[in-house]
């Protein structure tokens, strides 16, 4: 099983790194991180905070875009171009295909995030602003990318590439605004509305779990349990999402 998942993962990684979009996104990310220095000169406020904030936000946005576009592209294209036919005609279980795709995309994102992070840290080191907590912030961002990749894989199994991209990006936005749903539930009196808000709050992905940009940029202490909780949340939510993707793909008619 692992041999086959590995083969799919390796091929997915190979396809991703030979994809022009990946390099385009990386170049943009590196440019944005560099641009933060100029921006800090033009803006009122602490230069260090702006560079860190802008750098982490750039890694976040370009990482998510990579997860969505490369992720959805690589899964949907296999189905659309019918390359998946030759694979599934081999002794390859459908769940192995999905897990292999996810593993390959995770590896791609790891390399992608590492390149962006190294550039970001170099900029900060040159300015004497490096803080080890940034490593944790980037690690949590990577956790978030993994969760978004799992969702992208699920939506690719359910829908067309465009719709899958829209749905994943929408969930990314919702996932970062989920605190407002909790707030709304707290203000509502007991009833259906409150129940629905609470249910949605627990069902939808809470991407705020992976966001410690504020704490890092402002030099606040990071609670160790927060990182552990983020890892546990990724493990639980990510597994559930991938399990659903496998179940959907298992029954999918490859017309």
């Amino acid at each position: 099983m692992l041999v086959r998942i590995n083969a799919i993962a390796l091929n997915t990684f190979r396809e991703a790194i030979r994809h022009r979009i990946l390099y385009l996104l990386l170049i943009f990310a590196v440019a944005m991180i560099s641009f933060a220095q100029i921006l800090s000169l033009l803006t009122v406020g602490s230069e260090e905070k702006i560079i860190k904030d802008f750098g982490l936000a750039s890694i976040d946005i370009f990482g998510v875009l990579t997860a969505v576009f490369i992720g959805i592209g690589l899964v949907s294209r296999e189905i659309e171009r019918r390359t998946v036919y030759t694979l599934l005609a081999k002794p390859l279980h459908r769940f192995e295909f999905i897990l292999g795709k996810f593993a390959g995309l995770s590896l791609t994102l790891l390399v992608n995030t590492a390149v962006m992070a190294v550039w970001f840290f170099l900029v900060l080191l040159l300015k004497g602003m490096f803080d080890w907590r940034l490593l944790i912030a980037v690690l949590l961002l990577y956790f978030q990318f993994l969760l978004i990749t799992a969702m992208a894989v699920l939506f690719s199994c359910l829908s067309t590439p465009i719709l899958a991209s829209v749905m994943t990006l929408a969930l990314y936005a919702i996932g970062h605004l989920l605190w407002s749903l909790d707030l709304l539930a707290a203000r509502l009196t007991a009833g259906w509305g409150k129940l629905v808000c609470r249910a949605l709050y627990f069902v939808l992905p809470n991407l705020g779990t992976f966001d410690i940009k504020g704490e890092v940029v402002h030099g606040l202490a990071i609670d160790g349990t927060r990182v552990l909780w983020a890892a546990a949340y990724l493990a639980l939510y990510g597994s559930a999402t991938l399990w659903t993707a496998c179940a959907v793909f298992e029954r999918k008619e490859l017309q």
């Binding site: 190979r14 171009r81 019918r82 390359t83 036919y85 030759t86 694979l87 005609a89 002794p91």
Partner: protein, 316 residues
């Protein structure tokens, strides 16, 4: 025991917004025997690709059973013994020929030395030994078809399923694919391929199946299928005028010889018996042999049977 056994398969599709079912296969039963080359012919949209996808578990039947090597085809492990080339394959164009074959070999769990040996052997077998290091995006259509065939053979399968392997190929490419199919048979493998290129089918197939609108209209050895009936005779006569012919249709005249076509055995007797009295001479009688193409066109043009429409109504 058949290598591939389809029994009473019904398969329908439903478009996204429609509640109406579109029937693709209607009670298809077909058995492919070990060691044979089976040609699956039919018009576009007849259900050939659907049948192949069902055999490989890419789609699922509404009813009926699909068995591979005597076992339920849904078992993934059975595909260790199967090779498949889809129609107009879009292969991974960012991979080189070697990488492409190596990737597929990995899915069978072959170790690195075994993979290297197998890849080299197959590249040679499909005539791409010196092109293995080129990316597939630089391959011609014929080369893509050949590398696609090579991936179908990576596991040295007992059953090779090919969907339209000759489509879009030039005569040389078709010849090469034909030779590979014949070579597989010589090695004792079973080949099941769909096509609408009838000349190739006649040339290499042990048996053919004719699929029309989701139903198998004929199956058997080509000689059995096309010699079931003699639809007409061509009679060559000498020394007879057109006006003296009791029946038939004049096909040609040359050097006092006349070629007449008659469409029934009764007409043939009448024509031959008129020769007894006059000075005319019978030169030859040639039974018009039906070709696979005649059978194909006749079945494809035949109106849909009422029970098929009935089933369609029933399904709505």
């Amino acid at each position: 025991m058949p290598v591939l056994d389809l029994k009473d398969i019904h398969k329908s599709y439903r478009s996204h917004l429609s509640i109406r079912k579109h029937w693709v296969l209607r009670g298809l039963s077909l058995a492919i025997e070990p060691g044979e080359i089976f040609g699956f012919i039919g018009t576009n949209g007849a259900g050939k690709t659907t049948t192949i996808k069902l055999a490989l578990g890419l789609i699922f039947p509404d009813s009926g059973s699909v068995r591979l090597f005597g076992q339920e085809a849904a078992q993934v492990e059975l595909r260790r013994r199967v090779g498949f080339l889809p129609e107009n394959p879009y292969l991974y164009d960012y991979l080189t020929g070697e990488e492409f074959l190596d990737f597929h070999a990995r899915l069978f769990g072959l170790d690195a030395p075994a993979r290297r040996g197998r890849v080299r052997e197959l590249l040679e077998r499909v005539g791409l030994a010196n092109r293995g290091d080129r990316q597939l995006r630089h391959y011609s259509k014929g080369m893509l078809q050949r590398i696609g065939l090579a991936q179908a053979l990576i596991n040295d399968p007992d059953l090779v399923i090919l969907d339209e392997p000759m489509s879009g190929l030039d005569p040389i490419g078709r010849r090469e694919v034909r030779d590979i199919i014949l070579d597989l048979k010589a090695r004792g493998r079973t080949v099941f391929f769909s096509t609408h290129i009838l000349s190739d089918t006649e040339m290499i197939c042990d048996r053919v199946g004719l699929l029309v609108r989701g139903s198998l209209k004929a199956v058997g050895r080509i000689e059995e299928l096309v010699s079931q009936e003699v639809p007409y005779w061509e009679v060559a006569l000498q020394g007879i005028a057109d006006g003296d012919l009791p029946c038939g249709q004049v096909v040609s005249r040359r050097d006092g010889r006349i070629l007449v076509r008659v469409d029934s055995q009764g007409d043939l007797h009448r024509l031959v018996s008129t020769l007894n009295g006059g000075g005319a001479r019978l030169v030859s009688v040639t039974p018009g042999r039906q070709s696979l193409e005649d059978l194909f066109i006749r079945e494809a043009r035949a109106p849909a049977p009422p029970q098929a429409e009935e089933r369609e109504r029933h399904a709505r």
